[in-house]
């Protein structure tokens, strides 16, 4: 009751009023404006066993989550009445996977099968169309699943958006530890995860078309902004990996792609809580005898949603307004809090 009132207050145009209905309506809407030019692909999508399996997977996966998040949301609401605005975010969170059922999959299916429109060799989908950073976000694990034509091995590579990262190194200065060394690198992926259905070294030993890169290979290609000796650069590069590992942005272990019945595969994509925003790139490759026979790529947007997104947006774009808002908030809560507590 309360949650829906808040939703109404903060996001009137959202159709996410109730799980099933919202999802249904959105799916129909998507289908209607689906930009697919090729009827053959649409047919495939309707009949494909993989897409059907995906739908089942999703509903099973999400139902308990919705319940837990709901309870957390209700608890938060009662506890921090003032932060209720932030809570509203919880509802759209679980509702979001709805459109994921097909949305971006539509766009990713055609490129995956450019040569064979009727029998694709590799089909991939994700359990969610996007990673939504809500107030309750604590990192998330997405399920990547799909089907391929045997024989072959599957490799999955997930990359965060590239950016310039500056590595700082503390050195001892007059007995104090001080950031004295710094080195920037361009084209550093915010996140890098690689998973394979067989030991990666063996799969990549034969080159794999030069496209699939292990983390080490990928980092060999980041560009130092300022040149120093190769030895120093290697140290800073090592430091970069160390920090990223610590934050679980470069998960150290190679992930496992599990193959079932010789043609179905799945992999868990672990995302930590300190996840940079941006459009991530999820790629799956089908390898036969060390050669890439098929590849599917799809974008995975990672972003704050709802109240979090609004606050971050204001802070970035409307700094002055945000500052005034923060001051007014503190004055109001401080004044009221002080007055109330003195009465008690």
């Amino acid at each position: 009751m309360r949650a829906s009132f808040l939703e109404f207050l903060f996001k009137p145009p959202s159709p996410a009023c109730g799980g099933g209905v919202g999802v249904l309506r959105r799916r129909r809407g998507r289908d209607a404006r689906s930009p697919l030019p090729s009827p053959s692909v649409a047919d495939y999508r309707a009949t494909s066993p993989a897409s059907g399996g995906g739908t089942n997977n999703k509903t099973i996966n999400n139902k308990p989550r919705l319940g837990v998040v709901g309870i957390v949301a209700a608890f938060l609401l009662c506890l921090v009445a003032t932060a209720a605005a932030a809570q509203r975010v919880e509802r759209p969170g679980p509702a979001l996977p709805g459109p994921s059922l097909g949305g971006p999959a539509d766009s990713s299916v055609p490129p995956s099968v450019p040569s064979a429109p009727t029998v694709p060799e590799l089909i991939v989908d994700l359990s969610q169309a996007r990673v939504s950073i809500t107030s309750a976000f604590q990192g998330e694990s997405l399920l990547l699943f799909g089907m391929f034509d045997p024989p072959g091995e599957i490799v999955v590579v997930v990359q965060g958006p590239p950016a310039r990262e500056t590595v700082l190194r503390k050195e001892r200065f007059l007995g104090l530890w001080l950031n004295t060394g710094r080195q920037s690198f361009d084209d550093v992926p915010a996140y890098y995860f690689i998973a394979a259905s067989a030991p990666l070294q063996r799969l990549l030993a034969r080159g794999a078309g030069g496209e699939i890169l292990s983390l080490d290979d990928r980092l060999a290609s980041i560009r130092p902004v300022r040149w120093r000796s190769a030895e120093e650069l290697a140290k800073f590069r090592g430091g970069l990996v160390e920090v990223k590992r610590r934050e679980d942005l470069y998960p150290a272990a190679f992930g496992q792609v599990t193959v079932q019945a010789g043609r179905l595969f799945r992999a868990e994509l672990p995302f930590p809580s300190r996840l940079p925003e941006g459009v991530y790139d999820v790629r799956a490759y089908l390898l036969r005898e060390g050669r890439i026979v098929a590849a599917v790529s799809r974008p995975l947007p990672v972003g704050k949603v709802g109240f979090n997104a609004q606050l971050a947006g204001w802070s970035r774009q409307e700094g002055t307004l945000y500052g005034i808002g923060a001051i007014v908030m503190a004055l109001t809560v401080g004044w009221l809090g002080g007055a109330v507590m003195r009465r008690l």
Partner: protein, 308 residues
């Protein structure tokens, strides 16, 4: 229960933040100073980026000082004239401080400067307070009534020009003194995210010679506006104010403050100041230890820049 902080960009336990706010409020209630000097290092310790911790803490200080100012104002314990002169310096100082902060952030030394300034400030204030309260304690034991000293002593600083009369504080001093003091506190406030009450209050008593009755109210008055200025500038230039973080701290503080003042009513002032001194020194030692200890990893990452 975890909550995701939109500006700090990480999730953290709600109760940890609430408890930190309550501890800061407790100190505010007990000692009449904001607990910023304790809360900011603790925020950094639990993993909030120092830049976000400092800016959000300034936001929290606003709430702290308005609720304290409410009472002081009603009791007429605010020397408005003195407050405005202090504020003139405070505004200049905090604006300069935020500029300095932005520059230090750019060259990657802000974390270090924050730590070093905390160590220097807390250890000097802590030692001063400790000696003062020990001296008072032992003197009072010897002579319960205590010798009656002069109202205030005159130093060289009292010969500065541009003298002003502050009726409520019963002072006739150069305006440069409070302006300079306000300026220094403003810089502290901007770089460390503290209100600066625990520096300002002793300085007003010992340096300016103000009567203790108006000190707390007047310092709260100046801190309120300086903290608002810092919050505004940090939000406008650095975008590091996390209102969700600040709100949780404020709510904790609202609960903690009355408890603190109830404790304070039961303890004698000397004991209270001694306790405060020990606490301040403890935080200073811990921070110094952090600076001296070999870090687990020498590497860290600066700000991520997404190139267009």
């Amino acid at each position: 229960m975890e909550i995701y902080l939109p500006i700090a960009e990480q999730s953290i336990n709600v109760f940890v933040l609430f408890a930190l706010g309550a501890a800061a409020g407790l100190l505010a209630g007990m000692f009449g100073v904001g607990g910023g000097f304790l809360a900011t290092p603790m925020l950094i310790f639990v993993g909030i980026p120092p830049t976000v911790a400092v800016a959000s803490q300034a936001n929290q200080v606003i709430a702290n000082s308005i609720s304290s100012l409410q009472v002081q104002w009603r009791r007429g314990n605010v020397d408005l004239r003195m407050g405005l002169v202090l504020l003139l310096g405070g505004m200049l100082g905090s604006s300069a401080g935020v500029t300095l902060f932005t520059w230090l952030k750019r060259i990657g030394q802000i974390d270090f400067v924050i730590a070093v300034m905390y160590v220097l400030m807390l250890s000097s204030i802590g030692l001063l307070m400790l000696f003062e309260s020990l001296r008072t304690y032992f003197r009072r034991r010897r002579n319960p009534t205590g010798p009656r000293g002069k109202l205030h002593t005159h130093y060289l600083v009292h010969r500065l020009p541009w003298k002003m009369r502050f009726y409520k504080s019963k002072l006739y001093i150069s305006a440069f003194l409070p302006i300079g003091l306000g300026f220094a506190i403003g810089i502290l406030s901007a770089i460390l995210g503290v209100g600066g009450g625990f520096v300002l209050v002793p300085a007003m008593i010992y340096l300016l010679g103000m009567p203790t009755t108006v000190v707390i109210g007047t310092s709260n008055f100046q801190i309120l506006f300086v903290a608002a200025n810092v919050t505004f500038l940090q939000a406008a230039t650095n975008g590091t104010v996390d209102v969700v973080l600040a709100l949780l701290l404020i709510l904790g503080g609202v609960v903690g403050a009355p408890i603190g003042s109830r404790i304070a009513a039961k303890l004698p002032g000397v004991v209270l100041r001694g306790l405060m001194a020990v606490l301040v020194l403890g935080v200073a030692v811990e921070l110094l230890f952090e600076l001296l200890r070999t870090p687990a990893s020498p590497y860290s990452l600066g700000a991520r820049e997404v190139l267009p």
